[in-house]
C-alpha cells in the first residue's frame, strides 16, 4: 500500500515534468515557425535527403545550413557513405540526391539519373618531403603507377626504391587518375593501399621514396606536391586548361530535379555559394570553368 502510494507520486512527478517540457518545446517550435515564415515568405517546403561522397560532405554541410536558414520550412539531410552508396540510393529512390565523385558508371545508365556537376575536384601527386624532384612527366608517372619504373634514379632522383601509396580499387579518386593519367593501363598491385585521402598523406609523409595522389585540399606541408608535365598545380592552371588532373563533384537526381531539391542544387550552384565556400575548401567553382 505504502509502496503503491510512493509509485503513484513518482508517476505524477514524471508526468508533470513531461508535460512541462512538451509545453516548452511546443513554445519554441511555434515561435521559430512564425519567424522563418515571416522572414522568407517563400512557398518552398519539404524534406531533402542526400547521401554519398564523403569528399563533398565538407562542401555541402555549409550549403545545408545556409539553405535551411533561408528556407525555414525545408529540412535538408546529408549523409556520407561513399559515391557508390549515393548513386545506389538515388537510383533506388531512397534518397533524392546522390552525391558522387565519379561519372555515372555503365551499371547506372538507363536508370533515369540526371547529372548535376556542382564543383571541380582537383588532384595532385604528392611525394615524401625528402624527395628532391619537383616535376615528373606524364610518361614517368605512368611508368611509376604501372610498376615499370621502380627506382627514383630512373627518373632523375636519388637511388631509392619507389613506393606507391594510393587508394583502393573501388575508389573514385583512383578511377579518376586511371581515366586521366593511365588511360586504360592498369595500376601495379605492388603498392600500399590506404582507404582515405588523409591516410594516404600520412603514409607518404612517413615513407621515404613514397608517391601517391590526393584531392588537392589534402596536400599540406607534411608532404611535397610535385608538378605534372612541368605544370605546377593551381586553380588557375586548371581554369586555363593547362593542368588536366581533376574530376567533377556530381549531384545526381532521379529524373529532373523539382521543388525544394531543385532549389537546393541551384543554391549550391549559385555564385553566392560558389564564390564564398567552394574556393575556401580547396575546390574550384564550376562557373570559373565555363568562362
Amino acid at each position: 500500500m505504502f509502496i503503491n502510494m510512493k509509485k503513484r507520486k513518482n508517476l505524477m512527478a514524471l508526468t508533470s515534468v513531461l508535460m512541462l517540457s512538451a509545453a516548452i518545446f511546443a513554445g519554441c517550435g511555434g515561435s521559430a515557425d512564425k519567424q522563418s515564415a515571416a522572414s522568407s515568405g517563400d512557398t518552398l517546403e519539404g524534406k531533402i535527403s542526400a547521401s554519398g561522397s564523403t569528399a563533398l560532405l565538407p562542401l555541402l554541410k555549409p550549403a545545408q545550413e545556409e539553405f535551411q536558414k533561408a528556407h525555414g520550412k525545408v529540412t535538408v539531410n546529408i549523409a556520407g557513405g561513399g559515391s557508390f552508396t549515393g548513386m545506389n540510393q538515388v537510383a533506388e529512390g531512397s534518397v533524392q540526391i546522390g552525391n558522387s565523385d565519379v561519372d555515372l558508371p555503365a551499371e547506372y545508365q538507363g536508370k533515369d539519373l540526371v547529372d548535376h556537376k556542382v564543383v571541380i575536384e582537383p588532384f595532385v601527386f604528392i611525394v615524401n618531403k625528402d624527395n628532391k624532384l619537383d616535376n615528373l612527366t606524364r610518361e614517368q608517372i605512368i611508368g611509376i603507377l604501372t610498376g615499370k619504373i621502380k627506382n627514383w634514379k630512373d627518373v632523375g632522383g636519388a637511388d631509392q626504391q619507389i613506393t606507391l601509396v594510393h587508394r583502393a580499387k573501388s575508389s573514385g579518386s583512383r578511377a579518376t587518375i586511371s581515366d586521366i593519367v593511365l588511360k586504360g593501363q592498369e595500376f601495379t598491385d605492388d603498392a600500399v593501399i590506404q582507404d582515405s585521402n588523409g591516410a594516404v598523406r600520412t603514409a607518404i609523409a612517413g615513407t621515404p621514396g613514397a608517391i601517391g595522389y590526393v584531392d588537392a585540399p589534402y596536400a599540406d606541408d607534411t608532404v611535397k606536391t610535385i608538378s605534372f608535365d612541368g605544370i605546377k598545380y593551381s586553380p588557375e592552371a586548371i581554369i586555363n586548361g593547362q593542368y588536366p588532373i581533376y574530376g567533377y563533384g556530381h549531384m545526381y537526381t532521379k529524373g529532373e530535379a523539382t521543388g525544394a531539391v531543385k532549389a537546393f542544387i541551384d543554391y549550391v550552384l549559385s555564385d553566392e555559394f560558389q564564390n564564398a565556400q567552394v574556393s575556401k575548401l580547396g575546390f574550384i567553382p564550376m562557373s570559373k570553368m565555363k568562362k
Partner: protein, 295 residues
C-alpha cells in the same frame, strides 16, 4: 486484507506472463542472428553464380574491373597475421597470467586487473594509429625496408590487442586450479617452480587453450588496426615486411564503394562469410576444449 489479495493476484499475473517476455526476447535475438547469417551467406554464395569457387579460393589475382576475383592473398594474409600474432602474444600473455595468478602480491594484482580491463576499452583505430606513427617508421629503419607495412607490423600490434583476452582468461584458469593440487605437489617436495610448471599450468591447460582460441577469433576478425598497417594490396606477401591484405582489411577498404548486388560486392560478402565460418570453427574448438579436463 483486500489489498493483500490484490497484490497477490498481481504477483500471480506476473508469474504467469513474464515468461513470455523472456521468450519474446530470446526469439527476437535468435531471429536477428539467424537473419544476419542468412543474409551474409546468401549474398556471399551468389558470387559463385559468376565466379568459379576454385578461382576464388586458389588464385590471387584480384582485379574486379577485369572480372578477376581471386581471394587467396586475403585468405593467406588473414591466416598468417592471426598465426603470427598468436605466436607473439600467447607466450607473453601466458607468462603474464602466471605472474598475475601465482607470483604477484595482492596490491600489484589490484593495480593490474583494472588496468587490463581498461585497455580493452581502447578503440582499435588508436592501436592502428600508434602502429602507423611509431611501429612503421621503426620497422623501416631497423630492417631497411621500403615501407614497413605488412604482416609483421599488423601482427605485432594485434599481439598487443589480444593480450588482455589471453591474460585475463588464463589468469582465471590458473586461479581456478584447486589449491589441494598445489599443496600436494609442494608437500611431496617439488619446488615452487616445478609445482607451477608441472602441476598448475597443465591443470589449467584447457582454460589457457580456450583463451588462445578466443584471442585467435579476436585477431582474425580485427579490422581497423590491421587495415591501417597491412598495406591492403592484393598480393601474396613474399616476406613479413611486404604489403599484403587480409579478408577484413579488404572488406573495409572496398565495401563502401561497391554497388550492392554486383559480383564485386557479393565477393566481399563471401569473404565475410568465410570469416564467419572460420570464427564458427574456432568457437566449436573452444567448446571441445572446455569439455576436456587435463587433470
Amino acid at each position: 486484507m483486500v489489498m493483500n489479495d490484490l497484490a497477490h493476484q498481481r504477483r500471480l499475473f506476473y508469474d504467469r506472463y513474464i515468461r513470455w517476455l523472456f521468450i519474446a526476447a530470446a526469439f527476437l535475438m535468435s531471429l536477428l542472428i539467424a537473419s544476419i547469417i542468412f543474409f551474409v551467406g546468401r549474398q556471399g554464395l551468389l558470387t559463385f553464380a559468376d565466379v568459379n569457387p576454385i578461382e576464388f579460393f586458389f588464385t590471387a589475382r584480384w582485379a574486379p574491373s577485369a572480372h578477376a576475383f581471386g581471394a587467396l592473398s586475403f585468405i593467406s594474409g588473414s591466416f598468417f597475421v592471426t598465426l603470427l600474432s598468436i605466436a607473439f602474444g600467447a607466450p607473453l600473455g601466458i607468462l603474464g597470467a602466471i605472474f598475475m595468478a601465482k607470483v604477484a602480491p595482492q596490491w600489484v594484482r589490484n593495480i593490474l586487473q583494472p588496468a587490463l580491463q581498461l585497455y580493452v576499452a581502447i578503440p582499435s583505430v588508436v592501436y592502428g594509429c600508434i602502429g602507423l606513427v611509431l611501429l612503421i617508421p621503426f620497422l623501416q629503419s631497423s630492417f631497411g625496408v621500403r615501407t614497413g607495412f605488412g604482416i609483421l607490423s599488423a601482427s605485432l600490434i594485434l599481439a598487443i590487442m589480444i593480450l588482455p583476452t589471453i591474460l585475463s582468461l588464463s589468469d582465471d584458469a590458473l586461479r581456478n586450479v584447486p589449491p589441494a593440487l598445489e599443496e600436494a605437489s609442494l608437500a611431496l617436495g617439488a619446488t615452487w617452480w616445478q609445482t607451477i610448471w608441472h602441476v598448475v599450468v597443465p591443470a589449467a591447460l584447457p582454460g589457457i587453450l580456450t583463451s588462445i582460441v578466443l584471442a585467435m577469433a579476436r585477431a582474425i576478425g580485427e579490422t581497423m588496426a590491421v587495415q591501417m598497417l597491412i598495406g591492403n594490396t592484393p598480393l601474396i606477401a613474399n616476406s613479413l615486411l611486404t604489403p599484403t591484405a587480409s579478408l577484413t582489411s579488404n572488406i573495409v577498404v572496398e565495401m563502401g564503394n561497391t554497388m550492392f548486388g554486383s559480383t564485386w560486392s557479393n565477393a566481399l560478402f563471401l569473404m565475410a562469410f568465410v570469416l564467419m565460418l572460420l570464427s564458427l570453427g574456432m568457437i566449436l574448438m573452444i567448446r571441445r576444449l572446455g569439455q576436456r579436463r587435463a587433470v
